[in-house]
């Protein structure tokens, strides 16, 4: 599938296999992972990802469609996971298979930038306080680079 919004773990291997097409001289796969950054609330142990699913799927489709038109891609994919993700887990995979490497880099980059800008998905930190007794506290802003 070109776009996917799922609670299940994302497989980089499956993504790469989906991109292997004849004519794909250059394939670029971007993988975003949860980082265990330290915030004012403590060390991030997980991120909760949520989406407005019907709109998010339409928006993912639109991002792929527009990117294909611009970069004459052989094959694109844009997968995002939702739910609680622990540090090190994969939140997003953006992949582009093109004839040439410059187009593959540009298309993959565009997929992830447009996703961040235009797809209704949000993340909320789950942090473990550094010096205070452990408790869960939601925070508004994400702390990863994706």
């Amino acid at each position: 599938m070109e776009v996917r919004l799922t609670r299940r773990p994302l497989s980089v291997g499956a993504a790469y296999r989906a991109l292997e097409r004849p004519g794909a001289g250059g394939i670029v796969v971007f993988v975003g992972r949860v980082r265990g950054d330290v915030t004012r609330a403590g060390r991030v142990v997980a991120l909760d990802y949520e989406a407005d699913a019907p709109l998010a799927i339409r928006a993912l489709d639109r991002v792929v469609r527009r990117t294909r038109a611009r970069h004459s891609a052989v094959r694109l994919l844009l997968w995002h996971r939702v739910g609680r993700l622990r540090v090190g887990e994969v939140s997003v995979i953006a992949g582009a298979a093109c004839g040439h490497r410059a187009a593959a880099f540009a298309a993959a980059r565009r997929l992830i930038e447009e996703l961040k800008r235009s797809v209704p998905i949000w993340k909320t930190d789950r942090a473990r306080p550094a010096r205070r007794p452990p408790r869960r506290r939601p925070r508004r802003t994400g702390r990863r680079a994706g």
Partner: protein, 86 residues
């Protein structure tokens, strides 16, 4: 009996500010503008007011193009803070 409310769904920072994910707002049978609905929402949940300024709004799975758009009983309304996936 026909519906008399609009269900408002709050995401991410809007939900955190409001302390809840959904709100049912009563609306007249003839509906009201999105602007009036948001006024109602701020009245009910004052902590939402600063968050709403940076939000986009969705009615029945379509982005609202104008706050003068009409919202009717039974509609679904969603509040989208700035996106942050990836």
């Amino acid at each position: 009996m026909p519906p008399r409310t609009v269900r408002v769904r709050l995401y991410a920072s809007a939900r955190e500010a409001a302390g809840r994910a959904t709100v049912e707002l009563p609306v007249p049978a003839t509906g009201l503008s999105a602007e009036a609905l948001l006024r109602e929402l701020r009245g009910r949940l004052p902590a939402l007011a600063p968050v709403l300024r940076s939000c986009r709004f969705v009615r029945n799975d379509r982005y609202l193009r104008s706050l003068s758009a009409r919202v009717r009983p039974g509609d679904e309304f969603a509040v989208h803070p700035p996106y942050g996936g990836g």
